[in-house]
């Protein structure tokens, strides 16, 4: 009897059904690799399942975007090095891994960063701090410092054994690291060290799978290609980049109008106003109907809020209450298990999407709501007392509960996004779950976990996986905590203050219970002034961020990302998870409550203190401290940084007054992306590229090209050498 091994494709080739057996091959040899787009290869192994992330694509591959990724390099290994085996449990893949290779990605677990030497599950849960890689948005995609990315196109709870297992080999394994008998606990565990590494991928249930390889030469190009393969990053409406506020769960129309009015009177910047479950007649589960007790006239309420320049966002989850008007129609299009006694619509079925979307449109978007918050579309951790449907659930589309858990957040986002899109409007939203190929979806992931340090890590990690994350603000332990959290929030994809359990904003009272008793802090005026300044800073950054999002959309470059993505060869960045990059030129290193100073690592090159302009040579660690209302931010040398005069909100006719900060003597040009900020017309040419450039001789110059002729969005007023 022979030892069963994970066989190489070379051995198994005849037994497997390669659909694209004669595909072209440039740098991948072997008949089973197909180049599906520039720098992107697919290897089809066995017979893949039907319901996968590519089956439910949110957008077509961005072919134009892929052309903009100039650099390419061959993959570091050939597909005949991929081992493959099926068994009753599903299928198993074996990929090579070098011992020096650093592995990143796998979605938005907020605790894990460098993913080497561990088992990683692709399993959604409401605990993003799990050691097992559970998170609101697990993603079966990884990139390595060897300069390539790997995407396993599966909706299963795939396990990746990242260099921590060893196969039986022909030669006897080395036992040199344990020459003696172990008689103590310390000795017993020494044998765990492995001499060579492999990536083992365990795909449950499936009898085959497509694997996509994304070429480098660096992690950045691999991630760009992944994002562009996904369809390119989302472009939020301009108002989405302002400040968001969610009122208390039981607020009625009057409460919202009063507090909204107070925001305007006190000039707190705010673009989006969120309503929590209280807007509905039933929740949990949802009726998706306005609660006339709290909101007697929703249209009028929305009109008044819009009149104060608030965009309205409403909370919901997917589970359908028996009193919802769609209950009977959607029941046969739902899973066979109830959640909180509600139906679970199957968004793998077009008719279910349509019934659900029609009610959303009728109740929300057609009434003037611009945005939603999609809660609880993830799952719990492998829990003894689960609240969601079991993995063995079945759905009319043919999906089971395991597939649905991974895909639900993604499909739910699609259903919602299609409503404003059909009206030629862009939207920007909150969501509790996402998955693979999600870059085009204008949804930002949030959590209840509320650990500031982990929230910062999540911002850094989001860029590996085509995801966006908000380190939302709720209550705070201290004024310092309030400021430090708010500062991080300013440098994130969604500046969201979530007061669903608090009557007053945290700058009036940081303590939840006191807030609900209307006991405001004595120094609230002073605190409010500080927070207002931070929110104003956020609005000053909108032009810069909007351009970063345009790069996300067109070039696949994540607007928020870990430092290692830009500096993969710098070993100091391999575990650097408490600072991150924003757009092309900003390095953000948040301070945390209780820390007067911190170590910041600056990669090679010149860096400038955002606040003081002080110049630092990079390639080293720096101890830095900042006052409670300032966050350590560094601007890369030779940067043009457009800073706008603060606004309270973005109106249809808002034109940002810009001061361009000039860092270094030979700055790179910066391109402002201009369009109407709200519709999809930019896709039809209604957009401008406003290029900023600067030389010592000529000073600042602005050149513009493009086909957008509407309201000007940006006016350069000043150039300011730092």
């Amino acid at each position: 009897m022979k030892t069963p091994r994970i066989f190489t494709l070379a051995i198994l080739a005849t037994a497997m059904s390669f659909i694209h057996a004669q595909a072209a091959s440039e740098n991948l040899t072997g008949s089973n690799a197909e180049k599906v787009a520039p720098g992107i290869w697919r290897v089809r192994i066995g017979t893949p399942e039907k319901f996968t992330p590519t089956y439910f694509r949110s957008a077509p591959i961005s072919e134009n975007g892929l052309k903009t990724v100039a650099n390419t390099a061959p993959l570091p290994f050939q597909p005949d090095k991929i081992g493959f085996q099926t068994n009753a449990r599903g299928c198993v893949l074996e990929l090579p891994l070098t011992s020096s290779e650093q592995v990143f990605g796998f979605g938005l677990n907020t605790k894990l960063f460098n993913m080497g030497d561990r088992r990683v599950w692709i399993r959604p849960s409401d605990n993003p701090e799990s050691e097992a890689n559970d998170s609101h948005a697990p993603v079966p995609f990884y990139v390595t410092t060897a300069g390539y990315g790997v995407f396993v196109d599966s909706a299963r709870y795939v396990s990746f054994y990242v260099g921590n297992t060893a196969l039986v080999k022909d030669q006897v394994q080395s036992t040199e690291n344990n020459p003696q008998v172990a008689t103590s606990t310390t000795d017993l565990y020494k044998q765990r060290l492995l001499s060579d590494k492999i990536m083992v991928i365990d795909v449950p249930a499936a009898k085959g799978v497509d694997i996509y390889f994304f070429e480098g030469p660096t992690m950045m190009e691999a991630v760009q290609r992944y994002n562009l393969f996904s369809g390119g990053g989302c472009l939020p409406p301009l108002w989405g980049l302002g400040v968001w506020y969610r009122g208390k769960g039981d607020f009625n129309a009057k409460d919202c109008l009063n507090l909204g009015n107070q925001f305007r009177e006190t000039h707190i910047p705010c673009d989006v106003w969120g309503l929590e479950p209280g807007w509905q007649t039933q929740a949990y589960p949802c009726s998706f109907l306005w609660n006339e007790g709290r909101f007697p006239n929703p249209e009028q309420f929305i009109e008044k809020m819009r009149g104060m320049n608030f965009h309205i966002n409403t909370w919901e989850h997917i589970f359908v209450h028996s009193k919802s008007p769609i209950y009977d129609a959607i029941k046969p299009l739902s899973g066979n298990f109830l959640v909180w006694n509600g139906l679970v619509p199957d968004f793998g079925v077009q008719k279910a999407r349509q019934i659900f979307a029609e009610l959303q449109d009728r109740s929300l978007f057609s009434k003037g709501v611009d945005s939603v918050k999609l809660d609880e579309c993830d799952n719990q951790p492998a829990s003894p007392t689960p609240w969601s449907f079991p993995e063995c659930s079945t759905f009319p589309s043919g999906m089971d509960g395991e597939q649905m858990h991974n895909l639900m957040g993604l499909l739910y986002q699609q259903v919602i996004n299609e409503i404003p899109t059909s009206k030629n409007l862009r939207t920007y939203n909150s969501v509790r779950a996402s998955f693979a190929l999600a870059a085009p979806l204008p949804f930002v992931i949030y959590s209840d976990s509320y650990n500031h340090r982990n929230y910062v890590r999540a911002i850094a990690k989001s860029g590996f996986s085509g995801l966006l994350w908000t380190p939302e603000l709720r209550d705070a332990n201290s004024i310092e905590d309030l400021f430090r959290r708010t500062e991080t929030l300013v440098f994130s994809s969604q500046t969201l203050v979530n007061c669903w359990y608090m009557k007053n904003p945290p700058w009036m009272q940081i303590n939840k219970d006191k807030s609900n008793r209307d006991e405001l802090m004595d120094n609230h005026a002073e605190v409010t002034a500080g927070i207002r300044k931070l929110f104003e800073l956020r609005t000053s950054l909108i032009p810069y961020l909007y351009s970063a999002f345009a790069q996300y959309h067109y070039n696949g470059i994540p607007p928020f990302r870990a430092v290692v993505m830009d500096y993969p060869q710098d070993t100091n960045t391999w575990k650097l998870d408490d600072e991150y990059l924003v757009g092309p030129s900003l390095l953000v290193a948040p301070l945390f409550e209780g820390e007067k100073k911190r170590i910041v690592y600056l990669p090679t090159g010149d860096w400038y203190d955002f606040w003081t302009g002080e110049k630092f040579a990079g390639g080293r660690k720096l101890e830095i401290s900042k006052p409670v209302d300032q966050i350590p931010v560094f601007v890369k040398g030779n940067t043009l940084l457009p800073m706008a005069t603060p606004v309270e909100y973005v109106k249809p006719d808002t034109c940002f007054q810009i001061c361009v900060r000039v860092y270094g003597s030979n700055p790179q040009p910066f391109v402002l992306f201009e369009d109407d900020g709200t519709t999809w017309n930019f896709e039809k040419g209604a957009q401008n590229q406003i290029q900023l450039s600067w030389t010592t001789e000529k000073g600042g110059q602005t050149t513009q090209q493009g086909g957008y002729s509407g309201q000007g969005r940006f006016k350069v007023e000043e150039w300011k050498k730092q």
Copy 2:
């Protein structure tokens, strides 16, 4: 499109392949139920997998034993109430469950007792305190207070959703418990209450499964039938019921002989002496060869220890070191992943069993070793840094890693048990993992978890699942802790003192570090005297326990079990997990360190304090306190309790001198089981039943029948009315 439901068998009958379609049916209607033995039904659903617990039976069904289970009652539901569905993930079953039904079993998780309203995984791990039901011995068998048992014949990581999920029904679900919209966390979770209950069983990978139903009328009969279906409980050799001691991991022959000699000089009862990894040349993983540095002449050492009346037990695990003589031969018969750089032999392959057993015999049993300790044959919890082989491993037999993890402990026990059995010798051992149908295997499960309270719960739980558990003693927090743990140990299936990390016995020094520095306690003589008395009590109980094990073997009655098993209708027993029953008549309610007194629940009937003879009326809670060297034990009214004069060890010619304690005026007869105590000759008739009876008029009477004519084991010296 129709909502997919878990279909009833009635609907799916034509589509499914029922192998026993025309089987006889007494109280189960429907063509798919086969009566496989008296009171035991099999329902074959779909196409079951090959590698299941019944495929790897340890013993044939005890047909004779089943005839002794007098009571029978129909199952409370018909098999056409079992829903069944396959999908890509495996298959799903739905069974009815009434809302008042209490569910017990699922193996040896030490934290969970009453298993209702939770998701239960059948997944082995080295953490028996997991909320997910991980344990050293998960078992896909449950019993309920409705008086039946259910066994799912699968080696998969089956999930049981015990009454905590709800299917979509034709009628609208009740939402009465949440008429209002929920706007707070408290409100949000109210909806979890379910109005009716089901048992959903999720079997991964398999496209079908056999389910076995065991009739009542009570849980006891259902468990008896399950144990007898397994082959009947094990009957340990008499010496196995004495005291066990394991010396420190690095002890050499001289260390063992010295300490063994000291035991004899100080008259510490002890029958079994255990050697930890240090006996081998390599561990971890194992060479299975004697380390001549520590044990220059193993035969001579063993002979000397046997001369002092110690039976020798040796530690090992399954993983094979490259320096083991069987490495090359067993390599092609091993799994494809290494553990601690060692091979994982596939005991699903006869040749692998044989190669492995031959070395065990050569190194151990043929040299006079009588017993082994099988370590680490379980798995870790779903771990980010696993030490064992992955679930996606493959084995030459065709098993995968998931099946092997569940079956490994069981198969390993079989391989070992067959060695002495082939020499017509019985053995009794320690093992870290077990599984379904394990009752016939003479192995006791232990753990590193070392929580006294949980250890007590495990003793109570073991009886639901055909398992044995030892609350082994190591070091102690205090003298009180030492005594309380030892007391529980005396009333358990294996009185094991495990000093693998301690040089001196805990009665000489409770603290590990001091023990290893030979700093003995000042009062060690006094403590030793107290522990000696407890060990003497253990040896006094051997005749009673041996009879209880005979009942386990012949009638399937667990010798150690929860109170609820004998009193299922008494709602006070449904969560009673800190006291347990031993044999027919003893109720044990251990005290824990720091507790001067405790509440004991006595079920209906009379009970007598074991120590004082004081009589208590049952059906009530009692506050009880005991001195530090006494454990609360109660004797059921109308009991004849045989107590032996203490012995230091059981020799081939040991005859227990018995005093029969008489409780109540109309005691039930008690049958002592007598044989040679070491061989399998009892199966060929070499056994006696010595019946003790007592009436007020005639006093005590002894009648004997049977075909055993060897050394008398029991001599009744005295009858003592309490």
